[in-house]
């Protein structure tokens, strides 16, 4: 009996989905365009990657337009061309990402060796062979700079977000406007500000904490805006339940809302860190770059990964440039790991413990 009903059940038809014939047609047009581009480039004085891509694209659009025009007329043909154009746009948008990742690996892995993580540049020049010296001082420096920037900016950022979502006083609109405006502050301006406010009148020397302060300025808006987004997603039922149980607003925020948003808030902080970990311009003005390890944020210049990359690049010899790419590889791995962590945490459902 059951087998009979199973036979009667019709297969769900998807009239909008591409049939095998359609797919074959698309593939055929694609192949024809590739062939056309090779033929045109071989038979005319055009040359180079750009010529291949342009001719391919033009050929694809023409063939696609013609075939659709014959089948369904002008409206459909324009639609097909537009589809090709936006597909091209996403291809162009993604190309640099792939190119960057491949370049960093190809050029950076030559400079990788175990000493990179155990030695510093105290007794090595940037122009020395690559297997000498290392990044330890820069990794420690970046870690300390970002850690102190985090200590300063996370409370401010999260308090701002709580103000915007929980208190909603008369400053809500101006503050949310200013936080957005603050996220557009150029990094060099943050550097100049700390230079004018702290280095010139007070310390008169380069040190780590000034760099951290500048990074904190750049980090606050990211943390605040992401946290605000997360706190907005917490259902009001939770807040109301907290108050209905006799809790003060303080307790319902601290015991209910913030714990419920915990993973989202951590995501916000991680994204903030990823934003500032590779920031270069303010560090060039404020922290300087020493070759040896420095654990003291308040004394002497402090090396960092961006600074190391910058110095190596500015030196300009083949060895130093390989060093720069190795530094970038390490920095990029840090950024990608942070980003992936943020994604994994952020994809968890808000409110779940």
């Amino acid at each position: 009996m059951s087998t009979v009903t199973a036979q009667i059940m019709p297969k769900p038809s998807k009239p909008w989905a591409a049939s095998p014939l359609d797919r074959a047609k698309t593939g055929g047009i694609f192949l024809a365009a590739v062939l056309a581009s090779f033929a045109v480039v071989a038979s005319t004085p055009l040359k180079g990657k750009l010529a291949y891509i342009l001719v391919f694209f033009a050929a694809y659009i023409m063939i696609d337009f013609a075939s659709t025009f014959i089948k369904v007329g002008r409206q459909g043909a324009v639609d097909a061309v537009f589809r090709a154009v936006v597909t091209m746009a996403i291809a162009i948008a993604v190309t640099p990402i792939i190119s960057i990742l491949i370049t960093v690996w190809l050029r950076g892995h030559k400079g990788l060796h175990i000493g990179l993580f155990t030695t510093d540049m105290r007794s090595t020049a940037y122009t020395d062979p690559i297997n000498q010296g290392g990044l330890l001082h820069a990794i420690i420096g970046t870690f300390l700079l970002v850690f102190f920037a985090m200590i300063i900016s996370v409370p401010i950022g999260i308090l701002t977000a709580i103000y915007l979502t929980e208190i909603r006083g008369k400053f809500t609109r101006p503050i949310s406007f200013l936080v957005q405006a603050m996220s557009g502050v150029p990094s060099i301006v943050a550097g100049l500000f700390i230079y004018a406010a702290i280095l010139l009148p007070l310390t008169k020397k380069l040190n780590g904490i000034e760099g951290s302060l500048a990074l904190a300025i750049l980090m606050i808006p990211t943390v605040a805006r992401m946290s605000e987004e997360v706190l907005k997603l917490i259902p009001s039922d939770l807040r109301e339940a907290g108050v209905a149980l006799g809790g003060t607003q303080w307790r319902s925020v601290a015991m209910v809302v913030v714990p419920a948003a915990r993973s989202g808030l951590i995501t916000a902080v991680i994204l903030g860190i990823a934003r500032v970990a590779g920031e270069t311009a303010p560090l060039l003005l404020l922290t300087g770059g020493s070759g040896s390890k420095n654990y003291n944020m308040f004394k002497d210049s402090m090396g960092s990964l961006p600074n190391y990359i910058w110095q190596c690049f500015a030196t300009g010899t083949p060895e130093s440039i390989t060093r720069a790419w190795a530094g970038i590889l390490v920095l990029l791995v840090i950024v990608v790991v942070l980003f992936a962590a943020a994604r994994t945490l952020g994809n968890r459902k808000v409110g779940k413990k």
């Binding site: 409370p155 101006p174 010139l200």
Partner: protein
Amino acid sequence: MSQTLEQSATPIPEKRELTTLPRFSDRVFRGVVTTGGLSSLVILGLILGFLLYNGYSTLRQQGMHFLTGSNWQAVISDSGAFDVKNSHFGLAAMLIGTMIVALIAIAVGVPISVGAATYLTFYAPNAIKKIMVSAIDLMAAFPSVLFGLWGFFVLQPSGEYWAKLIHKYLGFIPFFQLPAPYVTRSPFIAGLVLAIMIIPIVTSVSREIFSQTPLDRIQAAYALGATRFAMLRAVAFPYARSGIVGGVMLGLGRAMGETVAVYTVLNIVYQVNWQILFSAGGNVASMILLKFGEASPNEVKALMAAGLVLFILTLIVNSIANLIVTRTGKSGR
């Protein structure tokens, strides 16, 4: 029993306090949070104040020349003191350079970003969409020094070839003329690098606006027999237009303030250069970085004033952008 009756003669207990006034702990909490919330205001105010305080002397000496002049000379007289009379600080060359580079970035980056956002919102299958969105978001987190080095070593060779092509076929347009055959490290290439840097932000803003397009209008268009392109033209693009303008302004703000990437790929020469393929140009931010190293205390003050101008410019552009984006977001609901 009798005891309670006797006790009832004692006065009735005071009325319990019924009030909507927040309790002490809440008042402290609100105070702390409000203080934290106001910090953005304080920081922006401090930036403005300190840059103005340090740059004020330059601004007063130079007057309007600071914005309209295009020479930058810090003259030290024979006695070693700073020569106020003969020193000229005019930011115009770099302001023009900033606008040129940023506009190239917008001209190249925005069509790509809007096309990409259209594809991601209305065309992409779910699996591809997820990967592409992650990739583009990741790109937003790439450090600018990475874009600079990539632009210098990878994009530049191709960019030079494109520049020569443009010069060969479009050389009659004044912008594409070359006074000398040098096309390395030109504003054109810097603009391309910036275009790539603004793609993530413009794409994500456009995507957000597109995804707010009212579904009933989309379906109405389809029900009337529209193709996807006709639907986009009649419904999605008009709906998203102002929001995309906001996203473009955000990208413009980012492109104007970029320092390290521009410094890496652009040959910074202090002159007004309209010929975008020629190897000379600059923007305010990279100029500050370039001059900062060997600047005398007085020149540092001039650089602070330059930073102030850059700060105000980006603040204005970003504020307009945010106003537009926020308003569009609201009208959709």
